[in-house]
């Protein structure tokens, strides 16, 4: 990530959608476009600067929302999926044939900005709240950036890049370490239930069974001895991410069975899902318990969940009558805590 103190021209702005182009989370229903973002998009569009999208979510849903808001026409090759945003920005760069140093990325999430800055050091990165200022920044007005200035800026930038070639972090793990992620997995209390219910109904990709309970039904699971409801909370150096994971366990038998595991898409790509499984097993599996099993009801959207279970040491063991796969934690050696996550 580079300070924008050189006037090399920005040719394309890549926007995050949720809480950047609009307020709210598209997959969770209502969104309201942010006036400052809209104005910047339209002003810069008028100057011939291109716009694109790199956002986590479901392409069909987000594209429909862009269409409804009459914004779709502004965005070229929008990338809405679950891949790292740096990967998507690289693809946009290739597809539009615009070098990465002429691309700016704008996102409300400081982790995403840090990640993109780490992965694509030549790009420019801005927080969502700076949308209104973009049109006034040097480099965002083609008429004020001459060819000579442009060339000089590029040389300067190349020099900076050479310096940046000694990266702040020796590898990706060090970058993740620097984010100082702290995870807690605890029993849910009454005050958590609205968020738990929301996650049940709104997560689809990282959701093992799609089990849906009302708040009243959830309330009944707290305090009975046949079920346990857990929530996972994450903090990092940028602040608190709140409840990012929920687990509903059937604890009646010798074996604990995971009836539901759902994770927020906002924290994908950090290895946190594995840390949640690790924390649950380490902290709460009672002594003498013979094993841990987990249900997976496969859908066309939750393939990542299967990968995640299998790469965390779970193996397909059986199938229920309804077709759900029963996974069993075969080798707990495979279930380790990522070195960049601390349990608190």
């Amino acid at each position: 990530m580079m300070e924008d103190d050189v006037t090399s021209l920005c040719k394309c702005i890549v926007w995050d959608l949720d809480n950047t182009v609009w307020d709210g989370i598209c997959l969770e229903g209502n969104v309201v476009p942010r006036p400052d973002a809209l104005e910047a998009i339209s002003t810069l569009h008028g100057r011939g600067i291109l716009h694109s999208v790199a956002s986590r979510g479901e392409a069909a849903v987000a594209l429909e929302m862009l269409k409804q808001q009459e914004l779709l026409g502004y965005f070229l090759v929008p990338k809405i999926n679950w891949l790292p945003k740096s990967t998507n920005i690289q693809e946009i760069s290739t597809m539009l044939n615009i070098p990465l140093d002429a691309i700016a990325f704008i996102d409300d999430d400081p982790f995403e900005r840090a990640q993109v800055g780490f992965m694509l050091p030549e790009g420019r990165v801005f927080p969502a709240e700076s949308a209104a200022q973009l049109p006034a920044l040097p480099g965002f007005d083609p008429t004020t950036v001459s060819d000579v200035a442009q060339q000089r800026a590029r040389l300067y930038r190349e020099e900076l890049e050479r310096k940046a070639a000694e990266p702040a972090f020796a590898n990706r793990e060090e970058f993740l370490q620097s984010c100082d992620m702290r995870l807690s997995v605890r029993r849910a209390v009454s005050a958590d239930l609205p968020r738990v219910q929301e996650m049940m109904s709104r997560t689809h990709q990282m959701n093992s069974t799609g089990l849906l309970l009302s708040e009243a039904e959830l309330r009944e699971t707290i305090g009975v001895n046949t079920k346990e409801l857990f929530v996972a909370e994450l903090q990092d150096r940028f602040g608190s991410c709140g409840i990012i994971g929920i687990l509903l366990m059937d604890t009646l038998a010798e074996e604990w069975r995971m009836l539901l595991f759902a994770m927020s898409c906002r924290v994908m790509g950090r290895g946190v899902e594995k840390a949640v499984l690790f924390a649950l097993t380490e902290r709460y599996r009672p002594a003498g318990l013979t094993g841990m099993t987990a249900l997976l009801r496969e859908t066309d959207r939750n393939r990542m969940m299967r990968t995640m279970f299998q790469m965390s040491g779970y193996r397909q063991w059986d199938r229920q009558e309804d077709g759900s796969i029963i996974f069993k934690l075969a080798d707990s050696h495979d279930l380790t805590l990522p070195r960049w996550v601390r349990l608190v």
């Binding site: 990967t87 990465l100 590898n171 790509g269 594995k274 990542m304 790469m311």
Partner: protein, 88 residues
Amino acid sequence: MVPNIENTLDAFIREHCLPRNSGISIGVHDNLFETGTIDSAGLLHFIGFIEETFDIVVPDEDLIPEKFSTLASIAAYIRERLDQPVLA
């Protein structure tokens, strides 16, 4: 003629999973997950690339740590698949 499998896999990882022009690389025996290089979503992207590049199908059941934790184990898996006779 199959290109060097390890190099092909390494090129993908450099392109998609490591910082650009950083000189950061990972060894063929380094664990892709433990080093934070790839996650579940990234693995599925990588599998898509492998299936297309080597013209093989990777069944979901095969996505286990023994086979997909390191570039070396993935390359061994790909070799094994390429050696198998194609079923009609």
